[in-house]
């Protein structure tokens, strides 16, 4: 392995590119685009490098980078990946690249600012996935809102301002309480740890009383639940999705929504195992309700984007169900499903965007019969729809199946109830497909639609490839995360002590060969 700080490079490369863009003249559109594309492509390659160097057999953190940041408070610049974050890092860089390329024809006004926002957003998202110090994580978590806020508010639809402020306030309202919980956790840790720290590996060793865990878990859970979004915190999503520009929607659905579920896996579960188990039924029922509710409401949407938004509520309900099932298959499935949802919903939004470019409407009633006019578009839409309803052989099935099988094994009732969502999912998805693609061509404007251009096909092709590939051979993704998830579950199921002795060594501890961070207790004084 190299000694390069790979994660820092990966995280801050887009931001550096954004800074560079700031000083380029806005008239040089090709240059701006080229730079943005180059940066995201390089970032994607870096993430592949990360994948190549990742040791799937190790449960702990890898590629750890550790530097003192605010030493007096034990706040560190601590980065690392494990099997839980790696797939999401890959998803982020992949979608970042796709969205950058896809945005070329869509964004003509203020392109410079757009790509700056997109790149900053990517840094923020990657930061969320690799930061292991809670304060650092929180900073990325919040900071990421800013570029997203601009993306929706500046390049969005007619009600963009309402949508973007709602998005911002909703997510922020949830996360500020988490910040306080982080403080409380820190002070609790100060009592027992040799040196106080905000770093996750250190905080994992803090024993918490059940009552304390309850409150802290709730504060974390609300922040994450809003981001997921779980019922009943979901209403920001349809607005944000409908109003966001296509690129924003793709990132929002593809990556941002995963942060909530990732947060559960990374922080809420391992930090508060007792509370997790205590709240399991609540979260599970909310997840199931979300699955059904999202699916039902999606059924009566007139706007494709808002339909997809509600479908996300439903899909992420599955993910949440898988997470709280506390079963290896379910959690693996949930993690895989995060990636799957990113791919298929991302592709759906891209398709909707491509359609919107041509027709300037997203209302279902304005379509119909498009399969005849734009068969390639239709075929891809159909495939993606099938992926999202979990047709075996495509990616969605693997995730959904693992979630439900695992949940069923651990908690049969929840699993069985979740299965109903599979039927509902097919219902609204096929209904959408039918209204867009099938039936007679009802509108004259639709008769002259152009089919997807070569560029558009090239943008979608990698997603389709992944959709099929993961559906047939998901092993590369599943195996990467298994060790980490096993350790996580051991910790949640049996408490921290069990995790120490369990396979893969202690959860959250970096792998010994990976660097100096093995002794993670944070420095107390200035270093």
């Amino acid at each position: 392995m190299t000694d390069l700080p790979l994660l820092s490079l990966l995280t801050f490369l887009p931001a550096a590119a954004a800074a560079l863009l700031l000083f380029l003249p806005r008239e040089r559109l090709a240059l701006l685009r080229g730079l943005a594309l180059g940066a995201t492509a390089a970032d994607f390659l870096l993430s592949l490098q990360l994948y190549a160097g990742f040791d799937a057999a190790v449960a702990g953190l890898q590629f750890v980078e550790e530097r003192a940041w605010i030493p007096r408070l034990g706040i560190q610049y601590l980065l690392g990946v494990d099997g839980i974050s790696l797939p999401l890092v890959l998803l982020t860089t992949f979608l970042g690249l796709v969205v950058t390329a896809a945005s070329f024809p869509w964004i003509r006004a203020r392109a410079k600012e757009y790509y700056i926002c997109l790149l900053l957003l990517q840094t923020g998202m990657l930061g969320v996935f690799v930061a292991l110090d809670l304060i650092l994580f929180y900073i990325f978590w919040e900071a990421m809102l800013i570029p997203m806020y601009f993306l929706i508010g500046v390049w969005g639809g007619p009600r963009r301002i309402y949508a973007t402020i709602k998005f911002f306030l909703f997510t922020m309202a949830g996360s500020v309480l988490m910040l306080l919980a982080i403080f409380a956790l820190y002070f609790a840790g100060r009592e027992v740890l040799p040196s106080p720290t905000f770093a996750l590996p250190g905080l994992l060793g803090v024993p918490l009383a059940p009552g304390q865990q309850t409150w802290l878990f709730l504060a974390f859970a609300v922040a994450f639940a809003i981001k997921v979004p779980m019922l009943p915190f979901h209403t920001w999503l349809p607005d944000a999705h409908v109003e966001a520009p296509t690129g924003g929607s793709v990132i929002l659905a593809g990556v941002l929504l995963k942060m909530g579920t990732y947060g559960f896996l990374r922080f809420a579960l391992p930090l508060f195992p007792d509370a997790t188990r205590a709240f399991l039924p609540v979260v599970a029922w909310l997840a199931i309700a979300g699955i059904w509710y999202g699916a039902l409401v999606a059924l009566v949407q007139g706007d494709v984007k808002s339909l997809v938004a509600y479908s996300s509520v439903s899909h992420l309900g599955f993910v949440m169900l898988g997470i709280v099932a506390l079963n290896l298959q379910a959690v693996s499935g949930a993690l895989l499903q995060m990636v799957n949802h990113g791919l298929s919903t991302g592709a759906l939004f891209l398709l909707v965007g491509m359609l919107y470019e041509r027709r300037h409407t997203r209302m279902l009633e304005d379509f119909g019969g498009l399969f005849r006019v734009v068969p390639v578009f239709g075929g891809i839409l159909l495939l993606i729809a099938l992926s999202s309803i979990g047709l075996p052989g495509l990616n969605g099935f693997v995730g959904e199946f693992l979630i439900l099988a695992g949940t069923f094994k651990a908690r049969p009732l929840y699993g069985a109830l979740g299965v109903i969502g599979v039927v509902l999912g097919a219902w609204y998805t096929l209904w959408m497909v039918q209204r867009v693609l099938f039936g007679p061509v009802r509108h004259e404007a639709n008769r002259s639609l152009r089919d997807l251009t070569v560029a558009e096909r090239c943008i979608l092709a990698p997603i389709l490839l992944l959709v099929v590939w993961i559906g047939i051979y998901p092993a590369p993704l599943l195996s990467v995360s298994e060790a980490s998830l096993r350790a996580l579950l051991a910790r949640v199921e049996q408490g921290p002590a069990a995790a120490e002795s369990a396979e893969g060594r202690a959860y959250g501890r970096p792998a010994p060969p990976r660097g100096s961070a093995a002794a993670l207790p944070a420095p107390g004084g200035p270093s």
């Binding site: 304060i135 900073i139 508010g153 402020i165 306080l180 002070f187």
Partner: protein, 483 residues
């Protein structure tokens, strides 16, 4: 009588000297070169900052123990000098534009800073009162400095009447403390009260009244009502100075009073502050929502930030006290920076103060708009800006001290605040510009002030560690800071 400790007084004297020097230089400077007079306060403040940096880490009690020049005082000296420098940078183009380019302006400014410095170093309640009055009297004039404009008159009058009124309360409080302990020296009062079994009613009333006086200065609810009107009517550069400077000075005074207050009121002291902090955060943030005038919105925002700062006082632990210092520095950069943009994009008579005038600013003046956006995000407390780190310290201190409820209230209030801060960004970037052309006064001084604001805001947000070290060490010697 002991000899004066000139070394410890040097920063104060530098500022005083620059004020007196201005008066002299004004007579020697022809009208058309008056702009150059701005160099004198800049030099004075610069010298004060450098001198106080040199003094930092030592402790002296000059003027017969009436002043205490410790690390905290030096920290505030430095902060006041920064505020002074930024204000001068804002003022240069502003007072030229508004036709109030008189040396008196800078003189009053320097003496106001002098008053602030005295407040921050007060070891005696009498000095505290004198510093407060030096500051106040200068500000009464500065607030009404736009003599031709009725709003400025009104601002000056309101500040004068209410300020004097509140000062009398403070003084009355001093009288009661004196009556209870036969001294106006803070250490002596504290020692006397500590020696007693029960402090009795006089100290409590005294501290209560002092709280009213200082609460007025920081614009704590319900003593805040002057603030929006005065801030709105005063010349914008003065508003910037008041909103950052007065607040900093009053909180510096608060820190001096805390030990006495703690002894006098015991548990009631944090309780009272708790209520004040909650009210101030709530009212400041909620009231700001309905504001369409940017200056007035910033005034309410100033009230709200006073509330956050009070949270730090409530916490009363080293983390909170250092957090208070850090917060004041951060607040200075972001709020003065915001006023710099306000001045830079305003016109004579300041027509651009309503939100609508800012529509489309993102494309018309991209760099200023970007700076303004950064200031707004920082004021709202979003990372990676100074505002976030400041709130981080303050609220973590509250959590540490067990004031979870107040912390929750505080963060919820800052969520509310996001709404009106972001509205500025919304208008700048997400609304189409109106037909009117944007006036812009691209003075190097304002640009520099804005740049300094941005630099400070981002630096403190991204690399808060150094400033935090300084803040922590500054309060280490402070009695009653808990550590």
């Amino acid at each position: 009588m002991p000899p004066l400790d000139w070394g410890a007084l040097a920063p104060t004297l530098a500022v005083a000297a620059s004020g007196l020097g201005l008066l002299a230089a004004d007579m020697l400077t022809p009208r058309e070169r008056r702009e150059r007079l701005a160099w004198i306060p800049l030099l004075g403040f610069g010298a004060a900052a450098a001198l106080s940096a040199g003094l930092w880490g030592s402790e002296a009690r000059p003027v017969a123990g009436m002043l205490v020049v410790d690390s905290a005082a030096c920290f505030f000296y430095g902060l006041f000098a920064v505020i002074g420098i930024l204000t001068v940078l804002l003022s240069v183009p502003y007072i030229r534009r508004e036709g109030i380019q008189f040396a008196e302006y800078y003189v009053l400014l320097t003496f106001a800073v002098l008053g602030m410095m005295v407040m921050a170093a007060a070891a005696d309640l009498l000095m505290l009162f004198l510093g407060l009055e030096t500051l106040s009297v200068a500000l009464y004039v500065l607030a009404g400095f736009l003599r031709q404009r009725v709003t400025s008159n009104e601002s000056g009058l309101k500040y004068l009447l209410l300020g004097a009124f509140a000062s009398s309360f403070l003084l009355y409080g001093v009288a009661f403390l004196y009556g209870a302990t036969a001294s106006t020296n803070l250490d002596a009062i504290r020692a006397a009260l500590t020696a007693r079994a029960a402090p009795g009613p006089f100290p409590a009333v005294g501290v209560g009244l002092i709280l009213v006086g200082l609460g007025f200065k920081v614009a704590a609810v319900p003593f805040h009502m002057w603030a929006p009107d005065v801030y709105e009517g005063a010349p914008t550069s003065v508003t910037a100075f008041m909103i950052a400077g007065t607040k900093a000075a009053a909180f510096a005074a608060f820190l001096r009073v805390v030990p006495v207050a703690g002894v006098s009121l015991e548990g009631a002291w944090p309780d009272v502050l708790w209520i004040l902090a909650a009210l101030t955060m709530g009212v400041g943030n909620v009231a700001a929502i309905a504001q369409r005038n940017l200056k007035r919105m910033l005034a309410y925002s100033g009230i709200a930030h006073a509330g956050y700062l009070l949270v730090a006082l409530v916490a009363g632990n080293p983390l909170g006290t250092a957090g208070l210092l850090f917060y004041l520095v951060a607040y200075t950069f972001m709020t003065v920076g915001a006023f710099a943009v306000l001045i830079a994009l305003g016109r004579r008579g300041e027509e651009n103060l309503t939100l609508d005038a800012w529509a489309g600013m993102g494309t018309r003046r991209p760099l200023f708009a970007l700076s303004m956006a950064i200031f707004m995000f920082s004021l709202a407390g979003l990372p990676p800006t100074a505002g976030f780190m400041a709130k981080f310290y303050v609220f973590s201190a509250a959590v540490e001290a067990g004031y979870i409820g107040l912390a929750i209230l505080g963060v919820l209030c800052s969520v509310i605040s996001v709404f009106f801060y972001l509205r500025v960004v919304v208008v700048m970037y997400m609304q189409e510009p109106g037909a009117e052309p944007v006036a812009g006064l691209l003075s190097p001084a304002t640009a520099l002030a804005t740049l300094l604001g941005v630099a400070g805001t981002l630096y403190l947000g991204l690399f808060p560690s150094d400033a935090w070290e300084v803040a922590v060490r500054s309060v280490q010697g402070l009695a009653g800071a808990g550590g």
